[in-house]
């Protein structure tokens, strides 16, 4: 007995799963391009260099939160001597007031859900 039908069906399921990125991309008409962000018009410099912010902003925000909530430490001095308030809403969102076209673009693209909005209100929602 060969059970060829069952084996071919099993192989078909395996192939469908294993090639899912290919047919999903084609069905969803995905583009390979990275998302484009709405960058602030006025300010060109963030608190840290762009690469560092890209890779580690979640850790910076996490440190800020701890220092503010636990120790009441609110002053942040950048390596190049600029001073900022350690605040998501008053510092970050001042420039990046468009969560939908800034934060979410990359976060959705990477499938990473930020926990910021568990407590904070999104700037768009204030209006």
């Amino acid at each position: 007995m060969h059970d060829t039908g069952k084996i071919l069906a099993g192989l078909a399921v395996f192939l469908a799963l294993a090639t899912s990125p290919l047919w999903y991309a084609s069905l969803a008409r995905s583009s390979a391009a990275a998302p484009r962000l709405d960058l602030p018009a006025a300010e060109r410099r963030c608190v840290l260099p762009r690469e560092v912010i890209r890779a580690s902003h979640m850790q910076l925000l996490d440190e800020w939160r701890t220092q503010v909530v636990r120790d009441g430490q609110r002053d942040y001095v950048t390596p190049d001597g600029r001073r900022f308030d350690k605040s998501l809403t008053r510092t970050c969102l001042k420039c990046h007031s468009n969560e939908k076209n800034f934060c979410s673009r990359c976060h959705d693209y990477a499938g990473a859900k930020p926990v910021c909005w568990n407590c904070h209100v999104k700037p768009e929602d204030i209006k």
């Binding site: 007995m1 991309a25 890779a55 499938g111």
Partner: protein, 332 residues
Amino acid sequence: MNALVSLIVVAVLTAVAVAGAGARPSAFVLGIVVPYAAAAVFLLGIVIRVLRWARAPVPFRIPTTCGQQNSLPWVKSSPLDNPHTALGVAARMALEVLCFRSLFRNTRSELRDGPRLIYAENKWLWLGAMTFHWSLLAVVVRHMRFFMEPVPFPVLFALRMDGILEVGVPVVYMSSLGLLAAAGYLLARRLLSPQLRYISLAADYLPLFLILGIAGSGILMRHFTKLDVIAVKELAMGLSTLQPALPEGIGALFFVHLLLVSSLLAYLPFSKLMHLGGVFLSPTRNLANNNRMKRHLNPWNPPVRVHTYEEYEDEFRTLMKGAGLPLEKEPK
């Protein structure tokens, strides 16, 4: 010795990736050509191997029965460990594939003075294997976030569940730790137990070192050295959409990760890792114990030389007659 050979293979692969990451043409090969080639070998290799298995028939129905058979109506049978229906077989296979039912039976025998043999529960291997395989599955599903845009719900759900403990920023996935710990355990038992070391081939260490390398580099990138995940997803989506391109700003460690993954994929169809397909085709598990209920056919069932009753009676007729046994033909 066998472990060392495998470790050297993984070290060489790592060195190749580090060396190749620096220059753009070699990074193109590592980031695009190698993954495509590995995926092709993986898919084709598995299909060919499974078809080779499929070509050989299952001449006899030989389930290993691990529970009471279905016989008299008042005898309670064991539908999961000794199924006699297709549904029961499906359930037995599901238990085997999803829960490692057979490994769960594992015991350890020990010879004490007396002499006395005792058997103790031994679920560590089962626990290690379950942690290893389920973590691996979670890791693979999680990584689909790089290959699919928009990220589909099941992948998001897996990400959410895997990070549900919300420890650390970015979140530490349970599967990262599970995979690392379980692969470490599987390696340690192979190295530490003299009996296991005795039976282990280089081919037994290689997948473990590859997976440890993959998990280690992945964890390093996510939590320590950091990298631009947007660029990584661009690379992955280029592969998914068949419009490959090599974005700037991807570090050497990522190429190490990718080369080890590619090696593992390409190696899989030629290795013991084919148990991923073979477990479904094992005739001692995937057949119903309905042997006397339903005839099983053997496609090559050959005619054989038998000893017929006529030949038998011809040889013993006189003796049979003398013993008063009934005969087909009276002796002359």
